[in-house]
Symmetry: C2
Subunit: 491 residues, 2 copies
């Protein structure tokens, strides 16, 4: 079984890499830093996209599309922003190739040099605020609530499928508002959308918080995030929502006339989640036998594996299961019957286990006689022989139960791996021995944050929004603190 996946307990990192490959999710492309998202992996991403997109639309946002290229001068307008992205920019300098004069192939045509270099967008604040300048004159033009689904490029030297690639797919929301409060409310609203998506669809509990200054998005006033815990005890930042204040409005001179005709700078937000969520989804739930998918995001929710030796037996199974498939389909459950005779049932069991199909039905001659079906759930591995009568509603209930159960398991895991400590030595010990989230007091300075990071590789994931305000002493400096923050080693 497991087609030779390494065990999580032995080599988590290798387990992840192999799983991504063996479950047909993605692979490294020979193109520097870029990945190929394979059809099965992409169909999971499509389900995520559809759910998120609907949540955006339900909160009043529309999609639009802005250019792939950012002129270098735009990127430079906001000082922190360019500082943050300059070191990872793919730069277009020419617009033509030509045949080499020595016949050795095509070369870049030196005569086709761009006057100004174009950056392949690492994010689109600059190009979008440059556009908003023309769209906004008065308070009547506000708010602007847009999102785009796009590819972005941030040059990475060390890449990992889904988690860190030079090119990745994401959505980026960019909104413009007349007041500070409205922009702050939007920032929080979108953080909630992300948290709800993570918990309700991905079955992945998250902690909402605000980043420290050193972890802030370049150009933001405040960066909010959702942080999830992976099975190896490392944290994964799964979505961010930025309150931009008036920073980009200032950089691109975007002003509006209020009801009294007074000009003021526009307030902004931006927020994004990416194909990194695929990495989070995989790592949060899967086991040594392969992928475990929450039913809501599974491209195939139910697979039927007929057990047969003869064509007649196969025909009988198909006849018996056809009405069930119809019924499931009609109630919105995605169901596949795998009737290949080139692979054994055992091979198919392992295959769908690897691919994380939530429910597997096996139907053989004895089931036909007894009017039963064997139902196996992927998350717990439980198998049960169930009467055919009422099987469709049994499965629908099971899918709901599994969605909850997968969430609950991840939540329990997180609880068991969240520790409070007031002592730096035990802080280090917890990190090394148990991992997970640590809630500890911090003096609020970047110096302390940096020292802890240097010494332990743990970073402040966020200042949780729901933390208790309490007096305390920084575990590192012993200086006073107003509350605990969330530490972890992270992806």
């Amino acid at each position: 079984m497991g087609k030779g996946l390494p065990k999580r307990s032995e080599d988590y990192s290798q387990w992840y890499n192999e799983l991504v490959k063996k479950a047909d999710l993605a692979e490294h492309s020979p193109v520097r830093g870029c990945m190929v998202i394979k059809p099965y992996g992409f169909s999971i991403w499509e389900k995520m996209q559809a759910a998120i997109d609907q949540m955006f639309k339900d909160t009043g946002h529309s999609n639009a599309y802005f250019p792939l290229f950012v002129p270098k001068s735009y990127l430079s307008r906001e000082a922190d922003h360019v500082e943050g992205f300059a070191k990872e920019c793919a730069v277009v300098t020419h617009y033509r190739l030509k045949n080499a004069e020595d016949g050795s192939g095509v070369v870049v045509d030196p005569d086709a040099r761009l006057e100004e270099e174009l950056i392949v967008r690492p994010t689109s604040e600059t190009v979008i605020w440059n556009t908003y300048k023309n769209w906004i004159q008065s308070y009547r033009d506000l708010p602007i609530l847009l999102n785009q689904w796009a590819n972005v490029v941030r040059w990475e030297m060390r890449t990992r499928l889904f988690l860190r690639t030079a090119e990745f797919l994401w959505q980026e929301g960019h909104t413009a508002h007349a007041t500070r409060q409205e922009a702050i409310d939007e920032t929080h609203q979108m953080l909630d959308v992300y948290a709800n998506f993570a918990e309700e669809w991905m079955a992945m509990p998250v902690i909402k918080g605000v980043k420290t200054e050193s972890e802030r998005f370049p150009g933001a006033v405040d960066t909010y995030c959702i942080e999830a815990l992976m099975q190896d005890g490392k944290a994964l930042q799964s979505g961010t929502s930025h309150f931009l204040g008036q920073n980009f409005a200032k950089a691109f001179d975007v002003k509006f006339a209020d009801k009294e005709g007074k000009l003021d700078l526009v307030w902004g937000t931006s927020w994004g989640v990416s194909t990194r969520l695929m990495g989070a989804l995989i790592m949060a739930h899967s086991d040594d036998n392969g992928l475990i998918l929450p039913p809501k995001l599974a491209p195939i929710q139910v697979v039927i594996v007929p057990i047969f030796k003869t064509d007649e037996q196969l025909a009988a199974v198909k006849e018996k299961t056809a009405p069930l498939m119809e019924e499931l389909k009609a109630s919105g459950v995605t169901c596949k019957l795998d009737d290949r005779d080139t692979q054994s049932p055992g091979w198919k069991f392992a295959e769908y286990e690897m691919k994380g199909v939530p429910v597997r039905l096996a139907v053989g001659p004895r089931d036909l006689e007894n009017n039963t079906v064997e139902v196996a759930r992927r998350d717990t591995g439980e198998k049960q022989v169930v009467p055919m009568e009422g099987i469709s509603s049994h499965i629908r209930n099971l899918l709901v139960e599994m969605q909850d159960s997968i969430y609950q398991k991840a939540l329990d895991f997180r609880s068991s791996r969240t520790t409070e400590t007031d002592d730096y030595e035990s802080f280090k010990q917890i990190l090394d021995e148990k991992g997970g989230f640590i809630m500890a007091h911090w003096d609020g300075t970047a110096e302390t944050e940096e020292k802890i990071k240097e010494e332990t590789k743990a970073t402040i994931r966020c200042i949780p929004l729901n933390r208790k305000e309490e007096e305390g002493t920084c575990i590192y400096s012993g200086k006073p603190s107003k509350g605990r923050v969330l530490f972890a080693r992270a992806y």
Copy 2:
């Protein structure tokens, strides 16, 4: 009315540009050659995408995602292919910016030069066939039926919104097959998908045909296309489907073992439609007052404009129309009520006319008394006062009728602008005076094709698949011909 659109009869080109802008579809970005697709325009594109994507899935295709960048050496592998695209390539040469030493801002870091330049994909055959090489060993791995939705870049000096931009959005299907016939069948199947989409969704009649050698996709054995006629008598190529033979398999050494274990090169196809379809949609149907959208692709299908002076009147209209909106929504009709008191009904009428909302309902105090509603259809401008009773089914029928009627009008127009001629002088006269499609005999040579293009700016749009085989004489050379081909001036 019409907010000052130029008339089509006076300046078609300017009419198009203004319409795209005034209907809030798209605008030029200050980023060289790139456009911004605005929310309203993008919502039409989303409807097109959803319909096309479903048609792909119904014909057995899955989506995947391949890298944005193509190493220069990949592009060079297929000789015709690189020849075709070399002159319009955006080239990434560096991966980092740095602060200029003189403090003048950021500059490209000369130390971060790529060993091999990366091309921003103009199309993805090379990067995909390079991947397929690893996916295909045996006939059991075939066929591969993939599609990706992506952005591509082809450097253009003269751009027009939707019709010709440096960056555009599209889908590109890439399939791999064990036999020549299967690949040819796939090429035809996808051409049919495009034709059906154009006719059934866009209400735009198209002619299916095969391109002449000189218009073939670089690297293809045969390029099939659908050609539509715009209202100014110019043709617009609206989709292409390429039979690639074994060309890319050869270039990337992609072989499979057949049932007997014999190795053979894989057969391929590729096919695409792009945001250019937006240009086709706009130009095929719209009038001097604005956009006309076939109901199936309209983001808002029905708009209700309340006629009111007082808040009470507005409340009464809303109360009256609320059940109607519910009913329409439940039957899948998108309906919007515009209750703004900042704009007059007349302003709103013009606005929704410009934006091509198919059906406009106006409801005022007199309608409330009489239990009626004024129904205006966008395509013909007809207005009718209709009883509230049964209005929902009236509207649903009207939307179906309009979809047909818009198609029929475009078809009638095309018939009236399709001319057969056997004489070169009259050919030229038709082009200048009447425009449209001309069916004429051609001797089959690239020389004649080129001469005709030079002298008249008309090109062979395609050799129609359903053309009559008949003996004839080339209008230009007088040499023998086996059938008429489709000429037109084109976008």
